[in-house]
């Protein structure tokens, strides 16, 4: 099982790396690129902790092979801040205490990012649908929901 070279963009940076075919995108992001913001929990597509955007679309990186990143643009939680400013979604999660232990938070925020890119003013049902694949053991979701509403009002206007 030989390593193969792949090229892709992650958080805006061109990257070249040699990787084994049986590595997942999640393993590559955390172990090879040392971007540990993206979390590993269920490892089977059920929980959304590992959510990243590939070409703007949210996916569970635990179900994607690293090889498939070739030629793509990947966005992880580390790529959200611009210069030293946090993304408005990150700000909103902080201001509304949208997390407790924080383990689901990167995935939640990436799903929110995909939602608000596509639909800056989602209604309540659209918000719930967008984070249906992101499980949280701590918050009961209310604070997360409020954070997303706040982020949307900042980004999409009232």
């Amino acid at each position: 099982m030989e390593k193969k070279e792949i090229r892709f963009k992650i958080n805006g940076e061109d990257t070249v790396i040699s990787i084994k075919p049986n590595k997942t995108l999640l393993e590559m992001i955390r172990e090879d690129l040392k971007l540990t913001g993206t979390k590993e929990a269920c490892d089977h597509g059920e929980c959304g902790a590992c959510t990243v955007l590939i070409n703007g679309v949210p996916v569970n990186s635990c179900l994607v092979l690293a090889m498939e990143a070739h030629g793509k643009e990947i966005l992880t939680i580390e790529g959200l801040k611009q210069d030293d400013r946090l993304d408005p979604i990150q700000e909103a999660f902080i201001q509304n205490t949208g997390m407790q232990c924080g383990f689901c938070t990167p995935g939640m925020i990436m799903s929110t990012k995909a939602l608000l890119n596509r639909n800056p003013k989602p209604n309540d049902d659209e918000i719930k649908e967008a984070i249906a694949g992101n499980l949280c053991r701590c918050t009961g979701y209310t604070k997360i929901f409020e954070s997303i509403k706040d982020a949307s009002s900042k980004i999409g206007g009232k």
Partner: protein, 292 residues
């Protein structure tokens, strides 16, 4: 002791850029496996539920198989069309609504963005949500291999849990659905404890054509209640051509339930599933015919 694997077993990875290349590899008789979204295959490999292939073949290099289009009234869905793209396709919503309902009922966006409708069918679990809808739409599958192609009706495609008529050197390239009269109406009910986030405990698809208060056409598809997704043909026969009335609908629902052969598992008992087939078939037909 239960071993909890997280890592993938070893395999080589190939992403053919053309169908010729793909079929060359497949006809070579190596131990290989194709995949599209990987949302079924990757977890199975991680859990060691299947023997790892020597070569994993990624179909996503075949860009020409990523389409949803209408040709002469016939809907054509390529093997790379994702669940999300089918769920949100304007053509599907307007002309084949029951299929968009079924696609919408499959999992979260993260899965819908990767998983394909063709993968859902080829994986061939009894609970595959697109299957009951495709059964009532009389979908056909276009299958190709190195030196040939064939067309298989979906009701002949499944032969058991995780088993289809596909040979190792074949792939499904397309799902084809003939035009449905615009007066037809359809409903897909997915019974599940966590909505679209869990697999169906029971899936019921009903497609209805009515004319002058009669059932001009009625098709009932059932998921998760037999070794494969099935049509409830005897229930359909009872209704076809008859005047729409409550008693007949009740009888048909009972027959549909008799036609199912569910198993007990951690989601539900066989008895509960049978009862829910009757309930949901009745509910779907009543809703579509507006019979109280």
């Amino acid at each position: 002791m239960v071993i909890f694997y997280r890592r993938l077993p070893k395999f080589e990875y190939i992403k053919p850029e053309s169908q010729n290349m793909l079929f060359e590899i497949l006809s070579d008789n190596k131990n290989c496996s194709v995949y599209a979204g990987g949302t079924d295959l990757i977890p199975k490999l991680k859990k060691r539920l299947i023997k790892p292939p020597d070569v994993l073949i990624d179909l996503k290099g075949l860009n020409e198989l990523d389409y949803i289009k209408i040709e002469g009234g016939t809907l054509k869905i390529g093997a790379l069309s994702t669940i999300y793209s089918v769920a949100t396709s304007k053509i599907v919503i307007e002309k084949f609504n029951i299929l968009s309902q079924a696609a919408k009922s499959i999992a979260a966006f993260q899965i819908q963005n990767r998983g394909t409708i063709v993968g859902n069918i080829c994986n061939a679990v009894p609970s595959a949500d697109s299957a009951p809808a495709l059964l009532v739409l009389n979908a056909k599958l276009n299958i190709k291999k190195k030196d040939g192609s064939r067309k298989v009706n979906i009701d002949e495609f499944f032969i058991g849990p995780n088993k289809t008529v596909l040979d190792k050197d074949e792939i499904v390239t397309e799902v084809e659905i003939s035009e449905v009269p615009s007066s037809f109406k359809g409903i897909y009910y997915k019974l599940s404890t966590r909505g679209k986030m869990d697999l169906a405990t029971v899936g019921v698809a009903v497609l209805l054509g009515s004319d002058n208060g009669r059932f001009s056409d009625i098709r009932i598809g059932l998921g998760a209640v037999a070794p494969t997704p099935i049509r409830a043909k005897r229930a359909e026969e009872l209704l076809k051509g008859e005047k729409i009335n409550k008693e007949l609908i009740n009888n048909a629902a009972r027959i549909a339930s008799d036609e199912s052969s569910p198993i007990d598992d951690h989601r539900a008992s066989a008895t509960y599933r049978k009862i829910m087939v009757e309930t949901l078939v009745k509910r779907a037909i009543c809703r579509l015919t507006e019979v109280g």
